[in-house]
């Protein structure tokens, strides 16, 4: 067993982000153990997205560090361990849905013989099968969101970071996504979901609340607690 096997799935130490003179995240110390299902809440501008994007390696901390499975965020090993589902789907305009799943899956090292089966299962789960060969440029916001989620879930990961995943989804889509997130958790992945959806508190095991870029709460998730944190 190596140090990395014992390391928390996500560990932030003095993590800080400022945009010019405006602080987005005050020094944050946080650890999420492997195999946790965490709900990240807070009002708009509280620093949720900033924190997740720094953990994904898309933003550089102004100060402090963040590590995934003990590897610095953005490093090759951290990227292999992590899947990040952003709040705004970004897709290629010139690749069909199935091509997205195929090529991005391959880039993440999914064996070729598993790709078709896994891709078909995910498309079926989100009702996307009949759009498999269409270009996402013709999709609605909700369909693009579903495509983005399918891309995020087709790859291997031990840590899943999800930012506002329910926005734009219909009820079956929300149900399917919740089931998939719980499935990932059941299979041992660490799942961190930033959301304003109160109902997610029913499945989350831990709630982390941010307010004005600072840690405001860290404890058990309950709808009442989440509502208080979000308001």
């Amino acid at each position: 067993m190596t140090d990395h096997d014992l390391a928390p799935a996500l560990e932030a130490t003095g993590l800080t982000k400022s945009y010019g003179i405006h602080p987005a995240l005050e020094p944050l110390d946080l650890a999420v153990a492997a195999g946790e299902l965490v709900m990240l809440v807070g009002p708009n501008g509280s620093g949720k997205t900033t924190m997740l994007r720094m953990a994904a390696g898309l933003l550089e901390p102004t100060d402090g560090t963040v590590a995934i499975d003990g590897f610095p965020a953005g490093s090759l090993d951290a990227r292999a361990a992590l899947s990040y589902l952003p709040d705004n789907p970004v897709l290629y305009d010139d690749l069909s849905l199935v091509e997205h799943l195929h090529f991005i899956g391959r880039l993440h090292g999914v064996p070729a013989d598993e790709l078709d089966e896994r891709g078909a299962a995910l498309m079926d789960r989100f009702g996307l099968t009949h759009r498999a060969d269409d270009l996402p440029v013709t999709f609605s916001r909700g369909l693009r969101q579903k495509t983005s989620i399918a891309i995020g879930l087709i790859r291997p990961f031990s840590v899943l970071l999800v930012d506002e995943p329910f926005v734009g989804l219909d009820q079956p889509g929300k149900r399917a996504l919740t089931e998939l997130l719980v499935d990932a958790y059941d299979q041992g992945a660490t799942v961190i979901v930033a959301t304003h959806a109160l109902e997610f508190a029913e499945v989350a095991k831990r709630c982390i609340g941010l307010r004005d870029g600072e840690l405001a709460y860290d404890g058990e998730a309950s709808a009442a607690q989440v509502e208080r944190l979000v308001s």
């Binding site: 292999a80 899947s83 970004v90 090529f103 391959r106 064996p111 990961f157």
Partner: protein
């Protein structure tokens, strides 16, 4: 998901990246009309050919005297080196802000976040960037050297064009390489600025001393090889290649934060360009370079008063929050305009276009408050004022800014004259006559661009040739207006050749541009009234034509 095994033994990432790129190309190609592509290529080649012919004709001025030739041989490398330094400085600045690569946003999200070595993933785009920069440099270098061959002799076009093309390609490739080095090494913007200033300063020193001590000066020596070949200058080629190779190899270190910002803004800039919306391009470029207004103004102004002056004061407030970089850019545009117009007066006529473009860009910067009202039409529409009056009230402050820019240009010309480039008397008299027309028409050109409606989509059944001409006219109409303001310069030059006093000739010739300028400003005020008048006239004419 979590249970899926990562397959490190799968095909090498390079293969996957190639397959991904191939699939994207195939899908894009499926949506392209081949004949339309050929037709666009034909129109572009035709347009470039016409431009080269016109430029060649325009520059067909007198050959330099032997004394002037000697001056070019002595000081030319330094001056060209300064131009190269400017290109390299821009590249360093761009690199320190994440440039010059502009990746698709999806590549940033999916490829750069995949467990694939980034240097491998970015190598191909980096090579393309260097290749493209080299190609652009080649075209510009060849074009400039053809123009130079008309006045400098030294073997004519067959000698100058290959040398110019090679030097241009080298400058382009090295600029891209420098940018890649800076972005790959994550050079901080302030360090990038210092490096850029150092490059410019070193080159400026070369010009001041009249000697070549910098690599930029060596590039200048190479560019003038048809006049005088110095074998030592060939050494700079190794530097150019090294920088390009080093840039490509080190590109994996780029910042994803900057790459993502560039990806988003660059796609918006491309869209704005397709609409020929220069104002939006200026705006997005500011966002790309993270240029923000100062939170604290340079000077604190009193509270806003009521009435029309409230618009002036709002405009002044915007001015007091300009960041230093924007002020610097305006000063630079003034200097470029002055130097280019001096060059045009001295005999290189095409430089008048450079001067006009500099004034046009300065006008776009100065017109910021009006442009913001045009960008957010709901805001002025919600005020109880006549739209034209509100727009007109926005004109005085930008005009004052343009006068300052023109004064900077004039001062540049006076300094050049004092350095012995040409007569001080000419610089003072002709410059004075140009001051108001150039400032006013610089502003009016920008006004024409900012208030221009986006091109109509659909319903325009013109033949392709006429539609193409219409598109070109739309694009050049606003900068061409600025050229009207520079007519006095050409009149003064012509007067000088006829041994007539150029100053008074320029003053007389400034009446027409001033009238055009006043009409342009009036267009701001009475735009809707004019549209309404023509609509009513057309409707009345239709009624009369209809059979009873």
């Amino acid at each position: 998901m979590a249970a899926v095994a990562h397959d490190p033994g799968a095909d090498a990432p390079g293969v996957e990246l190639r397959l991904l790129a191939r699939a994207r190309r195939r899908n894009r190609a499926a949506g392209v009309d081949v004949f339309e592509g050929f037709y666009q290529a034909y129109l572009t080649a035709f347009g470039c050919g016409v431009a080269v012919l016109l430029a060649s004709d325009a520059v067909g001025d007198r050959k330099l005297t032997p004394h002037q030739m000697a001056t070019v041989v002595a000081h030319g490398p330094g001056v060209i080196g300064l131009g190269v330094a400017a290109v390299w400085a821009v590249a360093i600045r761009s690199g320190s802000r994440g440039g010059p690569l502009v990746l698709p946003a999806a590549d940033v999200r999916h490829v750069l976040l995949a467990p694939v070595p980034r240097d491998r993933a970015l190598r191909s785009p980096a090579v393309r960037q260097v290749r493209f920069a080299a190609f652009v440099g080649l075209i510009i270098g060849a074009g400039l050297s053809v123009l130079a061959s008309h006045r400098l002799g030294g073997g004519g076009v067959p000698t100058w064009a290959p040398v110019g093309a090679a030097v241009g390609a080298g400058v382009g490739a090295s600029a891209a390489g420098l940018g890649l080095v800076c972005s790959g090494r994550r050079v901080r913007p302030w360090i990038g600025l210092l490096l850029a200033l150092a490059v410019l300063g070193w080159s400026g020193l070369d010009v001041g001393l009249g000697r070549v001590t910098s690599p930029m000066g060596l590039v200048g020596q190479l560019a003038l090889a048809p006049m005088r070949f110095r074998p030592g200058s060939l050494g700079v080629a190794a530097l150019v290649v090294a920088v390009a190779v080093f840039g490509v190899l080190g590109v994996g270190g780029i910042s994803l934060e900057q790459a993502e910002r560039r990806a988003t803004l660059a796609s918006q800039i491309r869209f704005a360009l397709t609409l020929q919306d220069l104002r939006t391009v200026v705006l997005l470029r500011r966002q790309l370079t993270q240029e923000q207004s100062r939170p604290r103004p340079w000077i604190r102004l009193g509270p806003l008063s009521a009435g029309r002056r409230v618009v002036w004061r709002r405009d002044l407030r915007g001015l007091t929050r300009w960041p230093p970089v924007r002020i610097g850019r305006l000063v630079l545009l003034g200097v470029v305009a002055g130097a280019a117009l001096a060059g045009a007066f001295a005999g290189t006529t095409p430089l008048i276009v450079v001067g006009a473009l500099a004034l046009f860009l300065a006008g776009l910067e100065a017109l910021e408050p009006l442009a913001q009202d045009i960008d957010h039409p709901d805001l002025p529409a919600s005020t109880p004022t006549v739209p034209g009056e509100l727009r007109l009230a926005h004109a005085p402050v930008p005009f004052a800014v343009m006068v300052v820019v023109a004064l900077i240009g004039w001062a540049t010309v006076v300094v050049m004259a004092a350095a012995g480039v040409f007569s001080l008397h000419l610089a003072v008299t002709v410059g004075a006559a140009l001051l108001l027309p150039s400032a006013l028409l610089g502003l009016v050109g920008a006004i024409a661009s900012v208030v221009m409606e986006p091109p109509a989509s659909g319903g325009d059944f013109l033949p392709a040739e006429i539609a193409g001409v219409k598109v070109v006219l739309r694009a050049i109409w606003s900068p061409a207006l600025v050229l009207v303001g520079l007519i006095p310069l050409l009149v003064a030059r012509s007067a000088l050749h006829r041994h007539v006093a150029p100053g008074p000739a320029a003053v007389s010739a400034s009446i027409l541009p001033l009238m055009v300028g006043i009409l342009g400003v009036a267009w701001l005020r009475f735009r809707e009234d004019v549209h309404e008048y023509f609509s009513m006239t057309a409707a009345t004419a239709q009624k009369q034509d209809r059979p009873a």
